[in-house]
């Protein structure tokens, strides 16, 4: 009887201590960002796929995918909220060995080279699962005549200005 109680006690203790530790860690969660590089013009959008794979033996339903942007060329930080309105998205339930893809459409707002990466997080996890890096090269795009508005921008004030000058001359004469 004592032996049986001891076995039950040990099972409960090891089970209680061991299970949460393996459930919380994100060691066995793999995050992959595609594409790995992109060259776009300023104002273009990039479709980003973040694939989260659960390599552990336990199912998960608490994962959150989060993306961030930084620039290797700048001292200051890049505000990723200028690139996309939603930085974090729920991954959804993941069975052992399963993977799911979360998509983003991001739009760079300034020229230069930027690094985009994603992480998977969980509320109780002590670590994060990081992805590879997407390198984005954004080419500046300038037009002297955006949307064909330049002729109107010049001609209308010029015509009103000519009216003003004619009235000015007439009144001085």
């Amino acid at each position: 009887m004592n032996k049986l109680l001891a076995i039950v006690f040990v099972t409960i203790c090891f089970g209680a201590v061991g299970s949460p530790a393996t459930a919380q860690s994100l060691d066995e969660v793999v995050v992959e960002v595609t594409p790995v590089s992109a060259q776009v013009a300023l104002g273009d959008t990039i479709d980003l796929d973040v694939t989260v794979t659960n390599m552990s033996t336990a199912a998960r339903d608490d994962l959150i995918a989060h993306i961030d942007v930084t620039s290797p060329d700048r001292d200051g930080s890049v505000d990723p909220e200028d690139w996309t309105a939603t930085l974090s998205k729920q991954v959804g339930p993941l069975d052992p060995g399963a993977s799911t893809t979360v998509t983003w459409s991001i739009q760079p707002i300034s020229p230069g080279t930027f690094l985009v990466y994603a992480v998977a997080l969980a509320p109780d996890a002590p670590d994060v699962a990081g992805s590879n890096v997407l390198t984005v090269s954004v080419e500046d795009q300038r037009s002297l005549n955006p949307q064909g508005v330049l002729p109107v921008v010049i001609i209308v004030p010029a015509a009103v200005g000519a009216l003003f000058v004619s009235r000015l001359r007439r009144n001085r004469a």
Binding site: D44, V152, V156, F164
Partner: protein, 263 residues
Amino acid sequence: MTSTTAHHTRPGWSIVARQELSELWGSTRGSGVLLGFSVLLAALSYLVSADAGINLLDARESVGVIVQTAIALGALTALVISSDAISGERERGTLESLLVTPLHRRDLVIGKLIAATSMWVAAIVVSLPFVAVLARGPGVAFDAVIVLVVAGSLVAAALTAFGLAISSLAMSNRVSLASAISIMLLLAAPSRLPGVTANGVLGSILIKLNPVSAGLKLANDVLVGQQGWSNHWTLLISPAVAAVLSTVVAIQLSRRIELGDSR
């Protein structure tokens, strides 16, 4: 002689309107204000089209910005002219000579109102090319022109008559201009404040009751929000009521026009 006969048969307000229009557009006053308006609108159009051209600003949003600015600034130009109409004459010492003519004071006010309204008509003419070019991309040219002409004209009519009413009462031109512009800014402010434009019941009522913010919200909802006219035509009620009331008040106040002491 013939011309004298024609002159006598013409209504008093028509004589005043013709004289005022001639003074406004024959001098540099009207064209100077219009030049400032066109330069501001041109600069803003270029900036928003540059942003929309590289997709940093939604094309419909750029049209909404231009139409709302055209309404606000165009109405402001008409307000500036009308708030100078009576108090300006008083300050320049020319009101007395006007009051001793056989013209009714009501004709004087109506004639001046028509002349000041011509400033808004000129503002529409100047705004149309900008609106047409920017609205071509998103295909909202028809809606944009209707919003500008209908909502803008009601807002401008309300403010022009309001400015004239203030000008009749104010003894100094400075007071008249400052009061009219301050009140217009106060009326335009609610539509720009995020706390008021939120979907709260009180905010919605305030926007609808205020003729300026109602007109600007209509432009935003129809052009930027892509919402149809059927849901938002009620936003035209307060500008229309304000236009009629302001005009009636301005005409009624013509009885109280006094020479005063502009010094």
